[in-house]
């Protein structure tokens, strides 16, 4: 039994949340002292730049109203005109509307628009843009593009082609790093003749080591060895596999990094040989190699390690004559040994957290560098002010591994809170297109301490309103409130370890569940009471039931909770008989009067129609391949066709063994959600 008092005017609260001010984008600025870069108005850069990207990053480069923490930003404050490029489906996208000029560069598929160099070059010529900011993704690390720009005398706001090329190749970049005295993962790649030779190599590297066939991709056939005995075993196994499976004797023996953290160093360099490291970003919270939550600084690094990592990153940047902003990624093991992973020669998605703690506007710096100015900061000028956390809010794949897409019927960023920055390229009414990245926004919170930033993040996630598309806010909220995350005990294995079967939604604790049930009951009663109150003159008088005590039944998942509600004044008291212990995590609540709940037990259960013999498109997309034809017999689990949506190829399989009756799609065809693709007998 539990009693909960609920705040008065609960319904008002609810509707206020649902329909609060929609002008919050333009809410007051919370300019903080730490954003201290002062732009020098006398410093002339470009008159017009073209932003060869879309979505949030295109908006970010522009100025923008999503960046409330920066009073004036980037190209806008620098007095630069901007040109946006967009595909035809993006013609009314925020980034296209925000720019001074917008040029359509082709149809929706990225290969025909945002990756279409010819069209983008045409746009540059037509608009007379003097420089191009590539954002991230698309053409940002394409040396061909950089070359073509250089050939036409257009500045590329990023590093030189040489650096792009050098760092773009995984093997070459490691060699360069090694030469520049950057820690790389010690290892051996080649033919190992004997067991003892393998043991010797392993001892040189230092345990633990990983042994696998060089030709095997990814983690396939990987063996981890902690001692000589295991190395011998691993050698036999792997060399056997190398010979039999790949016909290639070479073995890879490499230092195995257990519980690695992904920590990266932001560097900034100019064309005059100056390079700075702008501290680290901790990006260990990843799901299938996709970063989910990032923070700066890292809880794990001490000043000494940070300095070492920073200096090595700068060494690497200098080794390739790097200019502009770049990121050097490291793996860090539990003993704070760090190893070079790769260098990204572009602005990173998670750059805002670095901006928050250093006060530097990276886009502005990139533009300055591209124009040939020297950095006016020195290494000792780069502070760590406070703590910043970024959550990537995106449309997660539906439980069956497919993207949901749709129209944002309601969308409200939590910008009513201070110290919150939201980088997004969408607004209420926007479509999340199947053609592009499913990211909705980057939510950044800032605080003097980590605890403050985390508390703010919790608040911000709770205040975020997204309707019409699915989103990962429940997961984000779960991560940032997880004891392990709060204590800083994280690694790239965090998500698989904490959610071995995948995230199943918030697990309610008993008192939270009571709170939820009580709120549902109180809201239900509030709605009932409102229905009884008809305003205006009445010809036939109304006779509502005078009542301040109700018996209800609230269904939550499979659980049914009988409860009693009494109301005195504005306070509801809900008494819950808790008999149910198991619960589902989706909060599908249904409140019924006690009578309705009783009668409901007579209602028949509906049997869903048998869909196993019908394959429908689970989402809008393009058919890439159809693997069956009428008359074929398919086994359960056999691939029937492949549909591409949101840059993901999804294989649709047969649910049961059957003969194919008819095929209703062909490769290249665009299909809508629910369209019939294949019928089985």
């Amino acid at each position: 039994m539990a009693a909960h008092g609920l705040p008065p005017s609960l319904s008002r609260l609810l509707f206020a949340v649902k329909y609060g001010s929609l002008q919050s984008r333009c809410c007051a600025l919370h300019s903080k002292a730490q954003y201290s870069t002062v732009h020098n108005p006398g410093e002339k850069t470009f008159d017009k730049i073209l932003i060869a990207n879309r979505g949030e990053i295109a908006c970010r480069v522009r100025l923008l109203d999503t960046l409330i923490n920066f009073e004036h930003m980037n190209s806008h404050k620098m007095g630069i005109q901007t040109v946006a490029v967009h595909s035809d489906v993006d013609s009314s996208a925020v980034h296209a509307k925000m720019a001074d000029e917008a040029v359509c560069v082709g149809p929706a598929p990225t290969s025909k628009s945002y990756l279409n160099m010819d069209a983008i070059m045409d746009a540059i010529r037509a608009t007379g843009a003097q420089a191009v900011h590539p954002g991230y993704g698309f053409l940002s690390e394409n040396k061909e593009f950089a070359k073509r720009l250089a050939a036409e005398g257009v500045a590329f706001i990023g590093p030189d082609t040489h650096a792009i090329q050098a760092m773009g190749d995984k093997i070459e970049s490691k060699l360069i790093a090694k030469a520049a005295k950057v820690n790389t993962i010690p290892g051996f790649d080649g033919v190992v003749e004997t067991v003892e030779e393998a043991v010797k190599i392993a001892q040189e590297i230092g345990y633990p080591v990983m042994i696998k066939a060089s030709a095997g991709g990814g983690g396939k056939g990987m063996r981890i060895s902690w001692n000589d005995e295991e190395t011998r075993e691993g050698f036999r196994f792997s060399s056997q596999e190398a010979a039999s499976s790949f016909g290639d004797d070479r073995l890879l023996i490499e230092k195995y990094i257990d519980n690695p953290r992904h920590i990266e160093i932001q560097v900034l360099a100019d064309k005059h040989g100056n390079a700075l490291w702008l501290n680290e970003r901790e990006c260990s919270i990843q799901r299938r190699n996709q970063k989910v939550v990032e923070e700066a600084p890292s809880t794990f690094l001490d000043p000494e390690t940070r300095r070492l990592m920073g200096e090595q990153a700068v060494q690497l940047a200098k080794a390739v004559q790097y200019s502009s902003a770049g990121t050097v990624e490291f793996l860090v093991d539990s003993k704070k040994n760090f190893y070079f992973l790769e260098m990204n020669t572009r602005l990173q998605v998670e750059h805002p957290i670095t901006e928050c703690i250093t006060g530097l506007d990276l886009v502005e710096q990139m533009i300055r560098v591209a124009k040939g100015y020297q950095l006016h900061h020195k290494q000792e000028d780069i502070p760590i002010n406070g703590w910043a956390i970024e959550s990537r809010v995106y449309d997660p794949y539906k439980s069956f591994g497919l993207p949901s897409i749709g129209r944002l019927s309601q969308y409200q960023e939590p910008l009513n809170l201070s110290n919150v920055r939201v980088d997004s390229g969408i607004q209420e009414g926007s479509d999340i297109s199947i053609y592009y990245d499913p990211m909705i926004s980057k939510l950044v919170t800032y605080g003097a301490t980590r605890a403050e930033a985390l508390a703010k993040m919790e608040d911000a996630l709770d205040n975020y309103v997204i309707r019409g598309v699915t989103h990962n806010i429940p997961l984000l909220r779960e991560i940032i409130t997880h004891p392990r995350f709060i204590s800083g005990d994280i690694s790239t294995n965090f998500l698989p370890e904490v959610y071995p079967d995948g995230f199943k939604g918030h697990q309610l604790e008993a008192d939270k569940r009571r709170e939820l049930l009580a709120s549902a009951a109180a809201l239900y009663i509030t709605a009932q009471l409102r229905s009884q109150k008809v305003l205006g003159g009445l010809r036939v008088s109304s006779a509502p039931v005078e009542c301040n005590h109700w018996e209800l039944c609230v269904e939550l998942g499979d659980g049914r909770h009988a409860m009693e509600v009494t109301k005195s004044g504005d306070v509801f008291t809900v008494t819950i008989g808790l008999k149910q212990t198991s619960l589902l995590c989706s909060f599908q609540l249904r409140v019924l009067s006690k009578l309705a709940a009783e009668l409901n037990s007579y209602m028949p259960e509906k049997v869903p129609e048998d869909t196993s013999s019908i394959l429908r498109s689970p989402m809008p997309g393009t058919i890439v391949a159809v693997s069956v034809k009428p008359g074929d017999t398919v086994a359960a689990g056999q691939e029937i066709c492949v549909i591409e949506a949101m840059k993901m190829q999804n294989s649709l399989t047969a649910v049961k063994q059957a003969k194919v009756k008819s095929v209703h799609c062909k490769p290249g065809e665009t299909v809508g959600e629910g369209d019939l693709l294949v019928e089985l007998e």
């Binding site: 509707f15 329909y19 009414g429």
Partner: protein, 560 residues
């Protein structure tokens, strides 16, 4: 005991079901049998005091108890087993607790043929429960047919009970809700049963436009019986357990040799998506009744009452920025009119009528600043939002309901015209399209129209245009009011001209925008889409006192 009665046109299974349940009658303790068979110990006692107060009271109590269990426990169980609630459970769930005031609990049928006069064949209240009650405090009259008594078949007495509450509902001015679950006419009563139907039909017709009438079909409803729901304003059905047809599958088979199941012939899916007979279908009895309560909140009690106003928590001046981008630049591209409607109305609460029928027009109830409004909108997502026979009829009937019951009408226009083709012409699109025109033209309630995009040709006139006495007509900047689309127009105006593309561009420049209509005053204003809600709410406030009277007439002659 062997079927002394039969149930019209129902399936064999149904009759069997009844027989089975009749057999289960005997062990009933407080049922009709025990109550009316003289010679038992109990009744010997009663008779001794037959003139005394106690005896009558006892008999009253017994009759009441009998009435409360209808056809008896075993038949109640059978009803539950079918996934259906009993007549009384339905009433109880539909109405506010303790608000039901029953009438004619003691009425019994008067048939004396086929052994019907025997006491065991008499049930207090007969096969229908009638009375009045409250839904959220508001008065309503209700009848609920009791399938456990003679399969809910309609006797003279049954009809008389229904007529009584309908008469009273008319004199008081309150809606009538019928919960239908009846095998059909009581065949034993012959023509008396038919007369009963006619009496109900007449009242349905007389009450039409005076008080709202709603039918909820919760079981079979076949033969002549279907015409009562057909005459009421709204017909709702319960999925899988309700059927509406003139003749059942057996008769269909013998006459037309068609093989068809009950569900295919007259189930909820058929009537909500194919025939347009029903306005909505719900998952089960409980869902249906709870939804009916919600629906009832939208309606005024009678044509003497204004549309009800509920307390509103959604600011009336709320801007809807997403509307500024909802209409695609390409006029050939579709969007969902429901997105517009839901974002404009209070709390996204839109009760759509006939959501699965003639989907190229959307109709339904919502509230604006708490006040009930009727919404009509072309749906560009389906058949480009054109008007065809079905959508015209669907729209017309809805508009007339709103007009009859003082509910303001808000119309969202994006219509490329009437659907061409032989199917439409042969089907009488002229006659049917005229219904929608007629309905909008004769309506005297506040009428607000928003042209979101296309308003082409005759369909422009029809969709609550200024010329049909629209009170406030708005156009969004994306509006195109013209006789037809650019391509077709150019082919006529510039027939034979070389440069069609140039001519088309000229036409678009001239006509594919809201100005031609605005300069003539055919739209009152060109508004930012995001301000639509705010503007409508403000206009409705002013129009609340609108008074407009059509010329006196016996009744108009709508092109039926």
């Amino acid at each position: 005991m062997a079927a002394a009665f039969s149930v019209a046109r129902s399936s064999c299974g149904l009759i069997n079901g009844l027989r089975t349940s009749l057999r289960g009658l005997a062990p009933l303790k407080h049922g009709a049998v025990a109550a009316s068979v003289p010679g038992t110990g109990l009744h010997r006692g009663c008779r001794r005091y037959s003139v005394g107060h106690l005896s009558v009271k006892e008999r009253v109590d017994e009759k009441r108890r009998a009435a409360l269990v209808g056809g008896g426990q075993s038949r109640i169980d059978a009803q539950h087993k079918r996934g259906k609630l009993t007549a009384r459970e339905r009433v109880q769930l539909l109405l506010d607790p303790e608000s039901f005031v029953e009438t004619d609990m003691f009425v019994e049928h008067r048939c004396s043929d086929f052994a019907m006069e025997q006491d065991r064949n008499k049930f207090p209240g007969d096969s229908v429960v009638t009375g009045r009650g409250r839904i959220n405090g508001r008065l309503v009259y209700v009848f609920s047919q009791d399938f456990t008594v003679f399969g809910g078949s309609l006797s003279g007495a049954h009809a008389q009970k229904i007529c009584k509450i309908m008469d009273q509902a008319m004199t008081v001015g309150a809606p009538v809700i019928g919960l239908n679950d009846s095998g059909g006419a009581r065949i034993q009563e012959g023509v008396e049963s038919l007369a009963g139907y006619a009496d109900i039909f007449l009242r349905n017709v007389l009450a039409s436009g005076v008080v709202p009438q709603i039918s909820l079909i919760m079981g079979p409803c076949a033969g002549g019986a279907v015409y009562s729901p057909a005459l009421t304003d709204f017909t709702f059905m319960v999925k899988d357990t309700s059927y509406l047809f003139i003749t059942g599958p057996d008769v269909v088979k013998s006459v037309t040799n068609e093989d068809v199941t009950q569900e295919e012939l007259g189930g909820a899916k058929t009537h909500t998506s194919v025939s347009g007979v029903a306005h909505h279908a719900f998952e089960n009895d409980v869902e249906a009744l709870l939804n009916l309560r919600e629906f009832f909140n939208f309606l005024p009690l009678s044509n003497q009452d204004p549309a009800p106003i509920r307390e509103c928590h959604d600011p009336s001046d709320r801007l809807v920025p997403s509307l500024d981008t909802i209409v695609p630049f390409e006029s050939t591209k579709a969007y969902d009119m429901l997105d517009i409607i839901q974002s404009i109305v209070d709390e996204r609460d839109f009760f759509e009528i006939m959501p699965n029928y003639a989907k190229n027009i959307v109709v339904g109830f919502a509230r604006m600043n708490g006040r009930t409004v009727g919404i009509v909108g072309n749906q560009p997502k389906v058949a480009s939002g054109c008007l065809d026979i079905n959508s015209s009829v669907k729209g017309a009937r809805f508009v007339r309901f709103c007009d009859a019951f003082n509910i303001p009408i808000i119309t969202f226009v994006d219509v490329p015209g009437f659907l061409p083709g032989t199917a439409q012409e042969y089907g009488g699109i002229i006659r049917h399209g005229a219904k929608l025109l007629f309905a909008f033209a004769e309506a005297t309630v506040p009428k607000i129209t928003i042209i979101t995009r296309k308003a082409y040709g005759g369909a422009y006139d029809v969709m609550s245009s200024k010329h049909l006495r629209g009170d406030v007509n708005y156009a969004w900047p994306s509006a195109e009011v013209a006789v037809m689309g650019a391509k077709g127009a150019v082919q006529i105006i510039f027939r034979g001209k070389e440069n069609q593309a140039e001519a088309e561009a000229e036409y678009v420049e001239k006509f594919a925008n809201p100005f031609p209509a605005a300069v003539r005053g055919f739209v009152d204003d060109i508004i930012e889409p995001s301000t639509t809600r705010k503007k409508i709410c403000r206009d409705l406030e002013v129009l609340a006192s609108k008074k407009q009277v059509n010329p006196w007439k016996k009744h108009a002659n709508i092109p039926l």
